[in-house]
Amino acid sequence: MKRLPGWADYILIPLLNLSLALGVAALVVLAIGENPLDALRVMIEGAFLYEGAFGYTLYYTTSFIFTGLAVAVAFHARLFNIGGEGQAYLGGLGGLLVCLAFDGWMPSAILIPLAIAGAAAMGAAWAIIPGWLQAHRGSHIVITTIMFNFIGAGLMVALLAGALMRSGQSNPESREIADAARLPAIHDIANALGFDMASTPLNLAFPLALLACVGVWVLIWRTRWGYALRAMGESGSAAVYAGIPVKRMIVTAMAISGALAGLMAINTLLGAQGKVVLNFPSGFGFTGIAVALMGRSHPVGILLAAFLFGALFQGGTELDFEFQTITREMVLVIQGLIILFSGALSLMFVPWVARRIGRA
């Protein structure tokens, strides 16, 4: 296949795919009988302009960064981890267990890092099993991670409605964790510093997500492990020649991927909600796939794509208020279209663009 210049590959093609997805979404809005431009305006206002809107947008962005990075790390090894949803869910359990055990007495400075580690560890554990089964038993990782999403969901329901259920409650959810375990909200910090800021769920998990972006970038492009991972992903036979231990790499890549997905839970558990509620990952693990595909598995791209999806989700909730006929599920439609065009049909435009560029 013809190679495209970098700018076309990393900017033009993703933009073409995004426009196509948004174009089709606009057709759906038209078909419903509304004006797509109105919908777009409402979403932009809802995502950026209303009081506190931007904070919500960044709050969602935080979750998408973690799940997007999770998918990307595995994808560099050509492993398709679609178990982010379950890994995030179990990550919530890991963080929660740490809090339940220690939040009575432990100071924040130890408790919070420990809870974060707990979330990462449980997320990793939930990904290591499919990784190990892939490496050593040849079980297809896509199928096992799907199955693990359901197994994880079942376990969590059993726990949240059983052993971990808050006493005197009828909803299956955990008790609230102590304040010592909570990540401070950004608006509290801003207010304390004298800036006026509306109350939003945005919390310190956001800077942690940015750190994770840097961390993943370093891991993939600046460590020997990352080098081996990329070599393995691009050419399995060359990796064997180079003496890279392929099986071990599969397991560790999945562990890191799962840990990142598990970290999504800190945004909700330690940040916004302070408890684990039923089905809290609410599909964000799957959104991570769209984020990673759009971001071309690069942390910068993932940051941008996560921000786009953050804005879409926040703007999408505004659709519910403004329109009788369009709901926030429009965002799911856009998400599906983005996965379709920038994932499954990612190569559709390449020959066309190559010809155009070649002629110019």
Binding site: W221, R222, A231, E234, S235, A242
Partner: protein, 526 residues
């Protein structure tokens, strides 16, 4: 050796026998894959009811040519005539309609299907299987009677030995009424006994008037079974011969070609201690076929052992074993103090640490990660070493500097460390690989096809570097299908055939004729 093959004469053609209409006539067939010309204006004419061989090295363009004939690819230009009539073959269905059948090198059989199902596929004889199955069974009985091709229609393909699987392929073609049968490297998977039986079948088919095109790189087969033969090299048709009027030597010469005479400044060295001893290696592939049988070799410091042989005779498997890519099954390697055998394996990383560098035969699949930048490829296999910097993280500046040094010293063009490997020409890719492997000053080098796809200037440079390593005391195993290369560089020459070492002779006693005979499987005369 007086013969100097050149382009074929103006009239390609009927050699020996006389006949009215050729079964197949190809004129000016050209096929490009990107920048590679797989077939360059190839002409070919084959008499009906004969066995015609097409011989040539791997990559000579034989398979492409017959794939065009069978409609798997379409030629960029050129014409096909079948039995005197123009036959525009665009798909395999067209070829089948013209009475052409093909037995592919890799069988086109569904492994989980029965023989009957495979033979019916594409010729079911109706929308329901029941009627067609009965008709096919009857037809199989007839074919069994006419051609002595026995088969159990209800056997499952994957449970059959390859010889029988091949028979199914032939029956498949005959069931579709093939009058022309193309066989692409049919004996590669067969044991010698199976091969003999297979040739009997071909002769039987010829008796029945079937025209057979046999693609092979084995001289013995050409001499044994064909009536006429064409030789291909680097996408071109080199010449046509009547088998009874030619010799192995002439054909070998036409196949390998007179490369530009290789001028290497030989450096005389005194061979030193044994750096690696290969003792009794035998190796079976996943299908249980023996690819290596009882291989024993010594690699000595300051000495180049050339391993000659037509490709596909076990050289690749041997390199995989010696470099740690494939685990040793029987026999052992002795590397200094270490012994590598079935119970004590060494992976490629350990081999590297033990001072063994490996330049693989397959540059694109093994030696390089094609989408990686040159500076990343320049550390492949050594990414845990100082080449990537001294700190805990990869140091791109160090990698850049490392790559620039290699590129300057080995004259890699363009000297662009950030260009992906896929963007370099074959010769420059190879120089980059060679630079990477030589730069560590290994004690032992395993070198496979160092100049495949490399231009002439590059060849001279690479040869000089290999010679310099020898002078520095490195023990070198040089695997090449280019006899001239072996003769120019090696101090001792071993010849492989069918997974065995046929013999080992000093350079002084070697010439093309003697090596050619050994390559064809004739034992070295003592």
């Amino acid at each position: 050796m007086s013969h100097t093959p050149s382009r074929p004469g103006p009239a390609p053609g009927p050699v020996g026998s006389s006949y009215a209409t050729p079964a197949i006539r190809l004129t000016g067939i050209t096929k490009r894959f990107g920048p590679v010309i797989a077939n360059d204006a190839v002409d070919l004419e084959i008499a009906p009811g004969t066995i015609h061989g097409i011989i040539g090295e791997n990559g000579a363009g034989k398979s492409t040519l017959v794939s065009i004939l069978y409609g798997f690819y379409t030629a960029d230009s050129g014409a096909i005539e079948i039995e005197g009539r123009p036959a525009p073959i665009l798909t395999s269905a067209d070829a089948i309609a013209h009475g052409i059948g093909m037995v592919h090198q890799h069988f086109m059989l569904v492994p989980t299907f029965t023989v009957l199902e495979n033979i019916m596929l594409g010729a079911e004889g109706g929308a329901m299987l029941r009627g067609g199955a009965a008709a096919t069974r009857a037809e199989l009985l007839r074919l069994e009677r006419d051609y002595a091709l026995e088969i159990d229609p209800d056997a499952v393909i994957e449970e059959l030995p390859v010889g029988l699987q091949q028979r199914v392929e032939i029956l498949k073609a005959l069931r579709r009424g093939a009058r022309i049968l193309i066989l692409d490297e049919p004996t590669g998977v067969l044991t010698p006994a199976e091969t003999d039986r297979f040739f009997d079948i071909l002769r039987g088919l010829r008796e029945q008037g079937v025209t057979i095109v046999l693609i092979t790189h084995k001289l013995r087969e050409i001499m044994e079974v064909t009536d006429t033969v064409s030789v291909m090299r680097r996408g071109r048709m080199i010449g046509h011969r009547t088998t009874s009027e030619t010799t192995r030597e002439e054909l070998a010469d036409m196949m390998v070609g007179r490369a530009v005479s290789l001028q290497v400044e030989r450096i005389a060295t005194q061979p030193g201690a044994v750096a690696m001893a290969v003792q009794g290696l035998t190796w079976h592939d996943e299908g249980g076929v023996a690819r290596l049988s009882d291989i024993s070799l010594d690699l000595r410091a300051g000495d180049i052992l050339g391993l000659a042989g037509v490709s596909g005779n076990g050289q690749s498997e041997l390199l995989d074993l010696l470099s740690g890519i494939a685990p040793v099954q029987e026999g052992r390697l002795v590397i200094g103090e270490r012994i590598v055998d079935r119970s004590a394996a060494m992976d490629p990383a350990e081999m590297r640490r033990a001072g063994i560098a490996h330049i693989p035969e397959d540059r694109h699949r093994r030696a390089l990660v094609l989408p990686f930048e040159a500076r990343e490829n320049a550390v492949l296999g050594y990414h845990d070493g100082p080449q990537t910097g001294s700190g805990r993280l990869l140091d791109p500046t160090a990698m850049q500097a490392h790559c620039e040094t290699l590129m300057a010293r080995f004259d890699v063009r363009p000297p662009a460390p950030r260009l992906p490997a896929i963007g370099f020409s074959g010769g420059n890719q190879q120089k980059l690989v060679l630079a990477r492997e030589i730069e560590t000053e290994p004690r032992i080098m395993l070198i496979g096809q160092p100049t495949r796809g490399v231009d002439i200037g590059g060849i001279a440079f690479i040869h000089a570097e290999i010679m310099a390593r020898k002078a520095a005391g490195c023990a070198i195993l040089l695997v090449s299908v280019e006899l001239d290369e072996i003769l120019a560089l090696a101090d001792r020459i071993a010849v492989m055939n069918a997974g065995r070492i046929i013999g080992e002779i000093p350079r002084g006693e070697a010439d093309v004729t003697r090596l050619g005979l050994m390559m064809a499987g004739v034992e070295a005369a003592a």
